[in-house]
């Protein structure tokens, strides 16, 4: 079983971002959380099947040396990836159709590819589904578990607390929402060791211009006005009545 997993880096919303009219400037990048789940599930699947796991980082040229990508690949190596690749997109794009076409040729040698079902920086489709479309592979999203009984069996969240089990033809791309086990912590000593030992094959690809989407502007929506009522129960009741009156509700 040849297993692939995709890792990407995204703006770290914990650290915050700065919004300018034509771009969003992150203070820092971190590995995409859903991809961390995809990686964890890929490691679990490798353990179940005894297959090989190749982890592919996807990053644009501006961020090719960002420490978050190095961390993402080192975490993968420390967790048990057999080999690592880094695909460098020659320009930044948030359009996943363009990314999928740019990288598709490099995802033809796997039986299963796991990718985070979403990433916060995409606004035009999710990579897993579009990549499967480009390659003509099976796709399941919302994946929460993957098993193998000679064929691929995928558990998918269906909403309302229902989980479905599907037999899926390989090759397949799986959009993972949550790994079947929590993301394991990699101790710093193992992470540092992985950073020293890992070998990453770097591949540069050209991103096709498919057009169709143009950024008009980025902005924060206006915040709703919030009035905090304070006082004891009686006062609060009076104040609430005033508010309801002003809204013509009473």
């Amino acid at each position: 079983m040849r297993i692939g997993a995709i890792v990407r880096i995204v703006p770290d919303l914990v650290m915050g971002i700065e919004i300018e009219e034509s771009e969003i400037v992150p203070f820092k990048y971190v590995p995409n959380e859903r991809d961390e789940h995809a990686l964890e599930e890929a490691v679990v699947f490798k353990e179940k099947t005894g297959g090989t796991l190749e982890v592919v980082g996807i990053v644009d040229d501006e961020l090719r040396d960002d420490e978050a990508m190095e961390e993402a690949l080192a975490l993968a190596y420390a967790k048990g990836a057999d080999s690592l690749k880094k695909i460098v997109l020659n320009r930044r794009t948030f359009d996943r159709r363009e990314v999928a076409r740019a990288i598709a040729d490099h995802f033809k040698d796997y039986d299963v590819v796991m990718v985070g079902i979403q990433s916060i920086d995409s606004f035009a489709g999710y990579l897993g589904g579009i990549l499967s479309g480009v390659l003509g592979y099976s796709y399941v999203g919302g994946v929460v578990g993957v098993d193998y009984d000679g064929g691929l069996i995928v558990q998918k969240e269906l909403g309302g607390g229902v989980v479905g089990k599907f037999r899926v033809k390989t090759p397949a791309i799986l959009g993972v929402v949550s790994a079947e086990r929590p993301i394991t912590f990699v101790p710093l000593v193992k992470l540092r060791q992985a950073m020293k030992e890992m070998k990453v094959e770097e591949i540069e690809v050209e991103v096709p211009d498919m057009g169709g989407i143009e950024v008009v502007r980025f902005y924060e929506p206006e915040k709703p006005e919030i009035t905090l009522l304070e006082g004891d129960v009686e006062e609060l009741a009076d104040k609430l009545v005033e508010v309801f009156k002003s809204l013509s509700l009473v």
């Binding site: 993301i183 394991t184 912590f185 193992k190 060791q193």
Partner: protein, 400 residues
């Protein structure tokens, strides 16, 4: 820096096995004393989880001698420890159980990827953001912005007599930062020249060390020391007993626990105290009491407040029962619940009720959420309240 913890590489030349690493770590952390265990069982008899754990420290040492380390690790007993130091303080062979045997076993679990879920998340967040809550370091001084006076940062002020260190819980935790604000207000009333590190502060790492993540502890210490070295201050004051322990015993810095700081200023405070009408008991935090021998200063501060009736817990000073949060215990609840039906904090608040207290005064910010949760679980919420010693002092200063 006082820390001499070695960072062992994992099998870099394929000659050191995981078992060798564990034995090296045990030798290093216990000064090779783990061999000297006389199997008396004092440790297990003293342990708050002794009745529940499949491996008391005595049995752990025996199992290590018999080469049954994996049996211990598979049982999860290494996580069933609140690092309360009771076993270590009573061990007749003076074996470093809490700072040695347990973290060494935990380190092996971490390296094998067997980490309890909440702890795993906390460690990932500490490594990435310098705090366990996945909060932005930029918001570390958020508590200070809730005050009606400015708390200066060292970045702005460059030097101050006192560096106030709230640590992670004191900086971010909704309830604990109330204690931080109270301490800052007391400092302001005392006209102390103090400042904070704000966004430059990060976890001091005592729980990280006690959980066996030694490389991360060293990394945090190195980064913190770099920040400390940029500024001039006479001493650090913290209300986090674990931060106090790390800064005193591993960083080798001049640090006061806030109960010591309040005690040092007691004559001045006495003149400003108003009367309070409380029956107060004081909980000895493990890392103030058993680990660092601070017992009398907080008691003297509490007793000096007019109107306060002071009663002791039945188990006090060296015999005080742990709150259950230490050594990463605050992130190990689901593991502990597999073994333990009643948390130590629940026993502790029932004990406060037995001695007739209506206020439990604490000396470590971690105690506050532990006891407040326990009050809800035991149905004592409303009968007993939990206050940090700085909160009690501020109340006495502000007139109750």
């Amino acid at each position: 820096m006082n820390s001499n913890i070695k960072i062992f590489m994992i099998n870099p030349d394929k000659s050191v096995t995981a078992m060798d690493m564990l034995l090296n770590r045990l030798k290093e952390l216990t000064n090779n004393k783990y061999f000297q265990c006389i199997q008396c069982g004092t440790c297990g008899g003293s342990c708050p989880y002794g009745a529940y754990t499949p491996y008391t420290p005595r049995r752990m040492i025996l199992a290590i001698r018999l080469g049954m380390v994996e049996d211990i690790l598979n049982s999860n007993a290494q996580w069933l420890c609140t690092a309360c130091q009771t076993c270590t303080s009573r061990c007749p062979s003076r074996i470093q159980i809490t700072d040695g045997i347990i973290p060494a076993l935990r380190e092996k679990s971490l390296l094998e990827g067997k980490v309890p879920e909440e702890l795993s998340t906390a460690l990932i967040n500490i490594m990435r953001y310098g705090n366990p809550f996945k909060e932005s370091p930029m918001k570390r001084d958020g508590w200070a912005k809730e005050l009606d006076f400015e708390v200066p940062t060292m970045m702005k002020k460059k030097s101050a007599e006192v560096l106030l260190l709230p640590e992670c819980f004191g900086a971010y935790h909704r309830r604990c930062k109330q204690a931080t604000k109270a301490l800052a207000k007391v400092m302001k009333i005392l006209e102390v020249d103090f400042a904070i590190l704000g966004r430059e502060e990060r976890c001091t790492g005592d729980h990280v060390r006690l959980c066996g993540e030694f490389a991360l502890f060293e990394d945090l210490m190195e980064k913190n020391m770099k920040v400390f070295s940029k500024y001039e201050f006479k001493y650090i004051v913290t209300h986090d007993a674990h931060a106090f322990n790390a800064l005193k015993n591993f960083y080798g810095l001049n640090v006061l626990h806030h109960s010591q700081f309040l005690h040092d200023n007691l004559e001045k405070l006495k003149g400003m105290f108003n009367e309070l009408d409380y029956t107060v008991t004081y909980h000895d935090s493990c890392y103030l009491g058993r680990k660092n021998g601070i017992y009398e200063e907080p008691r003297e501060v509490i007793r000096s407040i007019p109107g306060v009736r002071f009663v002791e817990f039945k188990r006090n000073r060296e015999n005080a029962l742990c709150c259950g949060a230490g050594g990463g215990g605050i992130w190990l609840d689901s593991v502990m619940r597999e073994f333990v039906k009643v948390r130590p904090a629940e026993d502790r608040v029932r004990e406060a009720k037995e001695v007739g207290a209506d206020v439990i005064v604490t000396g470590c910010v971690l105690d506050i959420p532990m006891f407040e949760d326990a009050l809800k679980v035991t149905g004592l919420d409303g009968e007993i309240v939990v206050k940090d010693i700085a909160e009690l002092v501020l109340e006495a200063l502000e007139g109750g």
